[in-house]
């Protein structure tokens, strides 16, 4: 999706440049909270990883090139602010070193691939982690879904920018169809890699996964054969409430809604994906179902005009069944994203102190030396 020089007109390039600069500035401030001495190299590693996966380029008919994005992985491993920085650095270095993505299109590229993917993925991820049971499996599952949705979301964002400032007038519907269609496929690959990586890191070094910081239990030390509570660190304001009893934070009511949400999500995904793949033999009907199920809602949160995807579907993908199934899955995914976003916002407001701390507490005390 790297946009080359001269692809988006000057006003939109300048505007997205300003957006990107703003986002990076905000992230630089926010990243100070997320990074300490030991996680700084983690940010570099994530950037290198993102760099590597972004190098897997394949040409896309009406949208330059497609590849894995890595924004979701970055956001989950190092936090959203640092994630934005990591992907931005990758894009900058790619532009300078490999001439991948034009230097004047850097604003477009950062806005699209660093900001949109990271923000969408992280919002969705936090929302899911809040509603799913607090286990490592949920974190992995949430990262799968977050990654899956973040890629088509970036494709939508790209299409929007193209609609505003494309230098050639390809019908916007064609761009959208091709971009979203291909990026749904890419999203699946992205989701697999993201979930595998997050899962593996969680299993071995849970302290390295920013998105799972709420999971770790307060530490104990054994001194002279006796169990002693680890004293809260007095290293500075950045580490709040290290010993907060996180697991106990969720009230009973929230827990039952959580179960409800989890069941609903799984059912919706199964229905949309698998059932629509196997049950019906009529691709047209399928696409209709897919559109009714999810795509109409999708236009809401992303501000695309009308519902062009409903018309074009993911038609360019040869197999109508796959197309319908995939469209359904993204539809549901985006709906859930929007839904849980709202849910999360409401929940946050209701118990803002409580949940605000829960997100950050129990931070790995290894860092901060």
């Amino acid at each position: 999706m790297h946009v080359p020089d001269g692809f988006i007109n000057v006003p939109v390039s300048v505007a997205t440049g300003a957006v990107a600069a703003g986002a990076v500035a905000v992230s630089l401030r926010g990243a100070r909270r997320e990074l300490d001495e030991r996680t700084a190299p983690l940010a570099g590693l994530v950037a290198a990883f993102v760099f590597a996966v972004q190098m897997l380029n394949f040409p896309v008919a009406a949208g330059t090139s497609g590849h894995l994005l890595g924004g979701a992985l970055a956001a989950i491993l190092v936090g959203p602010y640092t994630g934005v920085l990591c992907v931005s650095v990758v894009l900058l270095m790619q532009g300078i070193l490999f001439a991948d993505g034009g230097l004047t299109a850097l604003g477009v590229n950062i806005t699209d691939m660093a900001v949109v993917t990271t923000v969408v993925a992280y919002a969705l991820f936090r929302g899911l982690v809040k509603v799913l049971p607090r286990t490592r499996g949920s974190v992995t599952a949430a990262s799968f879904v977050a990654a899956l949705v973040s890629v088509p979301a970036a494709a939508l964002a790209f299409t929007a920018m193209y609609a505003l400032g494309g230098t050639t007038d390809i019908p916007i519907g064609k761009v959208l169809a091709a971009m979203v269609g291909v990026h749904v496929l890419i999203g699946v690959g992205e989701a697999v890699i993201t979930a595998a990586t997050v899962g593996a890191v969680l299993a071995v070094r849970p302290d390295l996964v920013y998105g799972a910081r709420g999971l770790s239990a307060p530490l104990k030390l054994r001194v002279g054969g006796e169990l002693v509570d680890a004293a809260p660190r007095e290293t500075g304001p950045r580490e709040t409430a290290a010993a907060g009893p996180v697991a106990a934070a969720g009230p009973v009511a929230a827990r039952s809604t959580r179960a409800f949400w989890a069941t609903g999500l799984v059912t919706a995904l199964i229905l949309a994906g698998f059932v629509s793949f196997y049950a019906s033999s009529s691709p047209d009907g399928l696409e209709k179902v897919a559109a009714d199920q999810g795509i109409d809602e999708k236009t809401e949160p992303h501000h695309t005009d009308g519902s062009p995807l409903a018309g074009y579907g993911v038609k360019d993908i040869a197999d109508g069944r796959v197309s319908g199934g995939l469209a359904g899955v993204i539809g549901v995914g985006v709906t859930v994203a929007a839904g849980s976003g709202v849910f999360w916002a409401v929940r946050r407001r209701r118990g803002s102190q409580e949940s605000g701390h829960a997100g950050r507490s129990g931070q790995a005390p290894a860092g901060s030396a």
Binding site: V10, A48, F49, T104
Partner: protein, 253 residues
């Protein structure tokens, strides 16, 4: 190896272009690309002149044409896209060799191809004549926030570490008779990705600890001061300034 700083993009040499301070080169390339992008696409001759300017820089930097052209291959996905444009863009049609092509599509393809290629070529020349570390120092001098420079430098370090670990793990897999031959093995490969991440991290973490132990606090200490004097800036400005002249001509003619 922990310290593989020689990147494949860089061509060792002692040309005047190699000798310029990195931040001058970065600024020059950036201004050049801005100028190229703001040139009207109808001024075809202007793009030819830009090409000639870059060729001159490449000649001064003693970069062989073959090397430059090979590196331009990164552009292939865009070329594929540009080739499709005349077929998909609606509008006035012309017939060429029996194919019906759209005129706006042809202009669009030309626009993307010409500007994209020039941008790629400029970056290729920059990367071929500037060491990675120097590039980072240049970015630091151009006031890129230190945190970004830090992430970038770790990224480059880890790039080597990842490649290295990937090779070792692949050897270990193959010595146990595993060959990835299709989607059946994606599971194994995805797990390898996770393991690769942790191995690379733990290795990189040790390097980082060694740095921190010697007083590293987030910015690389300046060991050899890189400064640019007026002549060097003037020298670096030659490319974007002449391009600007061409651009202005392109708008007025």
């Amino acid at each position: 190896m922990g310290a593989g700083h020689a990147h494949k993009l860089y061509r060792h040499g002692h040309s005047p272009v190699h000798g310029l301070p990195p931040h001058c080169k970065l600024a020059a390339v950036f201004c050049f690309v801005v100028v190229v992008v703001s040139t009207p696409r109808e001024a075809v001759w202007a793009f030819a002149l830009y090409g000639a300017l870059l060729a001159a820089v490449a000649a001064v930097a003693r970069i062989p044409a073959g090397f430059l052209l090979r590196r331009l291959l990164i552009e292939v996905p865009f070329v594929a896209f540009a080739v499709l444009m005349p077929f998909v863009v609606p509008g006035e049609q012309v017939t060429f060799l029996g194919l019906s092509l759209s005129v706006p599509g042809l202009w669009g393809a030309w626009n993307v191809l010409a500007k994209g290629t020039l941008g790629v070529a400029a970056s290729v020349i920059l990367a071929s004549t500037t060491e990675l570390r120097a590039l980072l120092l240049g970015l630091q001098r151009l006031r890129l926030p230190p945190l970004l420079v830090q992430i970038a430098s770790f990224m480059i370090r880890y790039g080597d570490v990842i490649t290295d670990e990937m090779r070792r793990m692949s050897i270990a897999r193959r010595s146990r008779g595993f060959e990835a031959s299709g989607p059946r093995h994606w599971g194994v490969l995805a797990k390898s990705a996770g393991a690769l991440f942790i191995r690379s991290y733990e290795r990189g973490e040790r390097v980082h600890l060694a740095m921190v132990s010697r007083g590293y606090t987030g910015t690389m200490p300046v060991i050899d001061e890189v400064t640019a004097d007026r002549t060097q800036w003037a020298y670096a400005a030659a490319l974007p300034v002449s391009a600007l002249a061409v651009c202005l001509l392109g708008w007025t003619l």
